[in-house]
Symmetry: none
Subunit: 124 residues, 4 copies
């Protein structure tokens, strides 16, 4: 079952949050080629958004090659999606980079970062 937690307080627009979350689902392999996305109206109801907002997210995912829209039949995860392995690596790298930048600019040392990672990871 798809879990998409949007943050309505975030300045990141809802449709971009949906795009980001679904890309992660696909890249992580939890959504596979041939899987069907929830119908626009259904997902809109769940997320308490307007159907247009969800449609915009699906449309962008289609343009980015992750999803295929079949009018009258729904939206489907593409089988020949962009190279997922390299995407996964480069996305982790990007997240790590921006995390380290923020941590260092807060005045943390690499050792502070290591300790913070272990402490949080052991609590989860």
């Amino acid at each position: 079952m798809l879990r998409l937690n949007l943050d309505p307080a975030s300045p990141v627009p809802a449709y971009q949050q949906i795009i980001q979350a679904l890309k992660i689902e696909i890249i992580s392999g939890r959504l596979k080629g041939g899987d069907r996305l929830p119908p626009i109206r259904e997902l809109a109801k769940i997320l308490k958004l307007n159907p247009n907002t969800v449609a915009k997210a699906y449309y962008t995912l289609e343009e980015d090659g992750f999803v295929e829209s079949r009018p009258g039949s729904g939206n489907w995860v593409k089988s020949r999606a962009p190279d997922l392995d390299s995407l996964r690596v480069s996305m982790l790298e990007g997240e790590t980079k921006s995390y380290l930048e923020k941590a260092f600019s807060l005045g943390a040392s690499l050792d502070d970062v290591r300790r913070s990672i272990e402490r949080i990871a052991s609590h989860e």
Copy 2:
């Protein structure tokens, strides 16, 4: 000299990016109690923003207790700023938490995370 790199493409409003960046400068100690912030018009010119936008950021920083506005004399970093040490720790913690969440949702293991951290950190 203050370095504030705004991302105009980001959905985060410019004034919030200024607030965030200045808080980090203060929390990290690069800006100290008694330091003067750049005049609104000057910073607006540098960042190519409307003075209103910078003024909004300074005003919010004042409300949050980081900055003191002395009409006619400029904006100054407060000496009795909120407890910086605990702020620093809790902000690092928050960043680590959200970083780990994203990494794990991408399918990375804790070991993947550790390796990614060391690799990026050694390149900087």
Copy 3:
């Protein structure tokens, strides 16, 4: 054998593409008065459309006087079809008009158009 190439990506609805294509077959004389159109279900299967969609096209062709439906026996090209010669001329004229409009609005001269016609025609 009837060749009907529909473009599913086109914004022109499938049933209108069928109508347009069959009118051209009739006007050009490739389909003659007394010829039988393919059964609705068969054509729907070939075109991967719902039978309703094909039925809607046939029904409209009947309204326009090109086709006669004989319940229980199929759909037939009418012998006393509208005056085909003048239709052919006026349809060519219409196509030429809209082609020239587009070409000129692209900045092409009449000479550019003549050259383009000869070049493409010699390649076919």
Copy 4:
């Protein structure tokens, strides 16, 4: 002054008609790099469309590299637009190809086409 004639009866969506028409204006050179497009709300008023519809057209033109959106300031024709000369040639070629296809499928000969071109062109 920009002239955009939309056909509300066409099955081609209004926003695609706007895209098509503005691309032709740019490719033909009537709109040049640095020119400003009419504000979304203004064009919407002129065309009797909803601002969203015009915004969708502008947004797609931006994605295609023809236009640059500067929030708060308007939409501008890009200076380094995609290679216009080759675009012009290939668009004329495409129009000619589809025109000839339709003409031939109507049963016209190349001579019929030549005569039709000259007749219509001399009337304009």
